[in-house]
Symmetry: C2
Subunit: 186 residues, 2 copies
DNA sequence: ACCTCCGGAGTGAACGCTCACTCCGGAGGT
DNA sequence: ACCTCCGGAGTGAGCGTTCACTCCGGAGGT
């Protein structure tokens, strides 16, 4: 366990506690304890608790976006879609805390007040869907409908896995992703 | 505005405030004020705030279940599915507060601790999906996958409408529901 | 090589405030 | 007079935030 700087230490502790107990269930005193710092130290790095939460969101958004990205433009639309969505699921199944946190943030006053943009991880797939619609590969319907058809089932499945202990194997993931493509297709 | 009993008055106020400001953002003093009762009165009807929240959940779950239910067993599986899902969407688009509250409840410590059962409104459609799988009308995959494919996009769409002000018309709803059926089909 | 000084990161007891919850005096019916 | 129901000031626990202080590493004088 290499010695990390305190800022990182605090953000790491915050992710775990927020995911487990929510923003309101995680007092600064607990954050400090878990991060192995004094309470006051938190306020040296973040102007207040809200700022810490927003900062954590921004960091994760970027990190996740980079991990989902797929740089294989030679493959077919379907192939690229399937790969990215599968990556998406696997990432969050292996990083439950990040999913819990992002969900919590996304549907809270924070995101409404500030950067309303959709999570970074969606951006790539949204681009793909737009291009696919242009080419007539997927249905000519509103992007919101396409996004719902693509992400809805995938997020639902991840949620069942994370919040309801659903046993999730590769076969189920494959079936779900394939089926969402069928739903999108023209 | 007919005079309702205080219990109902409190629950009605709670629904609105919880939906708008969340559980933590709705102090009992505000609940009381909005319900037109004293703070103490709340505790005559509910042992504590948590109990109130759980009670509200139970009431809504039942109410919504009854409204979504479809008693037309003569129609085809697909037809019944489409009708129920469309009802589902329309209900929540017209009862945003109920959706906001249910979402909040479902993914909070409350539901994890107590009745873990899925929301009532799912039960009917789950039955339908099971029957349809039995008949070979839909894919022979795990019920969790079927549920994700069915509800995922529908909930995603409603969320976009409620939290992100997505303009939602009948055509978009139809397209989405139709596409989810395609995803389910064998 | 030693000592002195200093800047600023780090700390946590203390503060002010908000909250869920209590409790008792009074209103209103019988 | 009695009983039931209600209200809202009061209470203490717990929260986010502050600030006077500690501590340590390195710069600079000798």
């Amino acid at each position: 366990m290499a010695k990390k700087d305190k800022r990182t230490e605090i953000l790491d502790a915050a992710l775990v506690l927020f995911a487990e107990n929510g923003f309101h269930g995680s007092p600064t005193s607990q954050l400090a304890q878990r991060a192995g710092v004094g309470v006051g130290t938190i306020y040296r790095y973040f102007s207040d608790k809200d700022e810490l939460i927003r900062e954590l969101y921004r960091d994760l958004k970027q990190k996740i976006g980079a991990r989902i990205d797929e740089s294989t433009p030679d493959l077919s639309m379907q192939e690229r879609y399937v790969r990215m969505m599968t990556k998406f699921i696997n990432y969050f199944v292996q990083h439950r805390n990040e999913f819990r946190f992002m969900e919590q943030y996304y549907f809270s006053p924070y995101s409404a007040e500030f950067d309303c943009s959709a999570p970074e991880e969606n951006a790539r797939i949204q681009q793909l869907l737009l291009a696919a619609r242009e080419q007539g590969v997927v249905q000519d319907v509103s992007i919101s409908v396409l996004q719902s058809l693509a992400f809805g089932p995938v997020i639902a499945l991840v949620k069942e896995n994370i919040y309801r202990d659903l046993d999730l194997d590769d076969e189920m993931i494959r079936q779900t992703v394939e089926a969402t493509w069928t739903a999108l297709e023209n």
